[in-house]
């Protein structure tokens, strides 16, 4: 890594003309964003009946998407917070865009419970506020816990990301020659000037936020999993869910990190900053968390058998052999078989394999959440309450639309904000230099 490699970060934002590939992707994601807008409009005017949900399958694509998106966000927090506390310096080149990924993924996730509400205009009933009816939210409900968990997660992630960004915004303010950019970056840089006293407090607050966010890495998806475990639905009522969900979240999140990092490296010229070593480590983490997830699948089957409850046993058999069986086997292939490629060092360095495996894992993790939600509900304890769930075009619209929202936000982030932390990379570079000098 050299000084010139670093300057590409700010140049990419300030000087480079965006390539036609970039603009093409931006156009595609704006189209999908329009699909989301149309879906939301249709949904809000007609009600949740436009989705495929019914009695007994009251949760369909919407909650699947919610759990999927919020899981994806977890890798960003894991990288920026947990790896910082563990002094893993290599995180510096990937933490900025991973945090942005978290932020936009949580935004997409937060959308779905609202879309799913039925009467979204009463969203604020979930919040404690002094209303004229004198009532309060139901504190014993995991759905209310979710509101607090996701809101806190979003706000703390936003603060963490912004605090990390302040010195870099100051760099852009000082380097740009455009008056408008100086003004805008100047406002958001808050007048940061790299004063040594400021850095001292800054360092402390960054560590504190890392500690707080680490607690969120393990807690948010645990609270999400309680949405399921606190019920008595067979296949949901299980104590393994919180750790299983957290491992799955980091698993799918690292897959998203790779999905973003591989193209950034190949097409955006960040080859010297995001190196093969980063991809290698992310792939190893995918392998580890993938094995935890695989273990959880085994334990689900074991517990169903060992519980000796005919409903639990039936639910598991129905997952494997029932009408949704193809999705069950798809998730096993994607989440258990595919990551095994990463035992090979060659595969961990090959961009095409990394990208296809990580896309496969995201598909698999989406299927996993769908299988957990829908197969447990569609054949519940009473056969008179059995039914099927088929997604409608609006279900697909919301899913694809949320991918559009994520892509759109992420591309704008790439265009206007340094995708790699300039100040952290400068620090790494200077440490490498002084190490080289002392070793001479």
């Amino acid at each position: 890594m050299k000084e010139q490699d670093l300057s590409i970060i700010s140049e990419w934002v300030l000087l480079r003309k965006k390539s036609s590939g970039f603009l093409g992707l931006l156009g595609l994601s704006s189209l999908l964003l329009l699909v989301l807008g149309l879906t939301v409009y249709y949904l809000f005017t007609r009600g949740v009946g436009v989705f495929g949900i019914n009695i007994p399958v009251v949760w369909g694509f919407d909650i699947t998407n919610f759990v999927w998106w919020i899981g994806i966000g977890h890798a960003g927090t894991f990288i920026s917070a947990f790896l910082l506390l563990m002094r893993q310096n290599w995180r510096s080149s990937i933490n900025r865009f991973a945090e942005a990924m978290t932020l936009f993924a949580v935004t997409c996730a937060g959308l779905f419970p609202v879309l799913h509400l039925g009467r979204p205009q009463y969203l604020y009933w979930l919040l404690p506020y002094p209303d004229t009816m004198g009532t309060w939210p139901q504190w014993r409900s995991p759905l209310v816990w979710d509101v607090f968990a996701v809101t806190t997660y979003f706000l703390v992630s936003l603060l963490f990301w912004y605090v990390g960004l302040i010195p870099d915004l100051a760099v852009l303010r000082d380097q740009t020659t455009s008056r408008l950019k100086q003004f805008l970056y100047g406002i958001f840089a808050l007048g940061w000037r790299g004063s040594v006293r400021h850095w001292e407090h800054y360092q402390v607050v960054y560590l504190l936020l890392a500690g707080l966010a680490t607690a969120l890495v393990v807690s948010v998806h645990s609270v999400v999993s309680l949405d399921f475990t606190a019920s008595i639905v067979p296949g949901w009522h299980s104590t393994i869910f919180p750790p299983y969900f957290v491992a799955g979240a980091i698993f799918s999140g690292f897959a998203m990190v790779l999905t973003i990092a591989v193209p950034l490296r190949t097409y955006f010229g960040f080859k010297h900053l995001i190196t093969e070593a980063h991809l290698d480590k992310a792939a190893k983490l995918i392998l580890v968390t993938g094995l935890i997830v695989a273990y959880s699948y085994v334990m689900e089957g074991f517990t169903a058998w060992y519980s000796n409850s005919s409903f639990e046993k039936f639910t598991w058999v129905n997952r494997a052999l029932g009408p949704y069986a193809p999705l069950f086997w798809l998730l096993l292939v994607c989440n258990v078989a595919l990551p095994q490629f990463f035992w090979s060092a060659k595969c961990r360095k090959n961009g095409a394999i990394l990208l296809s495996v990580s896309l496969g894992i995201q598909l698999g993790m989406w299927a996993e959440r769908f299988v957990i939600i829908v197969t447990s509900l569609h054949r519940n304890v009473m056969p008179s309450r059995w039914g099927m769930y088929y997604p409608t075009v609006w279900d697909w619209g919301a899913l694809l639309g949320s991918i559009g929202l994520f892509g759109f936000a992420f591309l704008l982030f790439l265009a206007f904000i340094p995708a790699i932390s300039i100040s952290e990379m400068r620090k790494l570079l200077s440490e490498e230099k002084s190490d080289a000098n002392t070793n001479k």
Binding site: T152, G186, G194, S195, V196, E200, Q203, L208, S219, S430
Partner: protein, 197 residues
């Protein structure tokens, strides 16, 4: 506007922020800061592109303590806010479920505290995080959109050293010639007098 140094002119006619010198590396800046402190200067400021270990303790002895809590109030502020958040979170649920609107469902206790823990936990983290960030901004006096160092012609410009040491004009020992001699001896270059406004 920056004014080139004129040795014959001891008393500059404009209000001065200080004399700034650039340094090649963090190590050179550290050495220079030590040198300036040993020479008796007390009012100094350094500007760096990233946090440099132990530099703050030399520039300002109030930072010279060991450990996070010695150098900054922020851990204390964060802890207190975390406790306030915890109390608010738990208190809100206890008040509403036990005092304000108790509902008996299947004979379960109103004060079912285990069910209140997730929200209490989230409120703790939220209060602590918000307080830590805003505490940092307030202690650092940010936002402050303008500062005399921005008058420095090379400040923040690419291909210039980003390690700048300033001996402030309000230092009791300050005189442009003394500060110039010292900074040049300490391997500083591109010496510039930075005006206050």
């Amino acid at each position: 506007m920056p004014i080139p140094i004129n040795d014959s002119q001891e008393n500059t006619p404009f209000a001065l922020y200080g004399l700034a010198a650039e340094f090649k590396s963090p190590e050179a800046l550290l050495l220079a800061a030590k040198g300036a402190r040993n020479a008796g200067f007390t009012k100094m400021e350094a500007f760096t592109p990233f946090h440099i270990e132990s530099l703050a303790g030399i520039i300002d002895p109030s930072f010279s303590g060991r450990g996070l809590s010695r150098t900054s109030f922020l851990p204390g502020i964060t802890l207190i806010s975390a406790l306030i958040g915890m109390g608010t979170g738990f208190g809100m649920q206890y008040y509403s479920a036990v005092l304000d609107y108790p509902q008996t469902v299947a004979g379960r206790p109103h004060a079912s505290w285990p069910a209140f823990i997730p929200i209490t936990f989230e409120m703790t983290i939220l209060f602590a995080g918000v307080a830590a960030v805003f505490g940092m901004l307030i202690i650092n006096g940010l936002p402050r959109l303008h500062h005399p160092i921005f008058f420095h012609p090379n400040y923040g410009k690419p291909r210039h050293s980003q390690y700048i040491l300033v001996i402030k004009a309000n230092d009791p020992l300050y005189s442009t010639s003394a500060a110039t001699r010292l900074l040049e001896r300490l391997a500083g270059y591109n010496l510039v007098e930075v005006p206050l406004r």
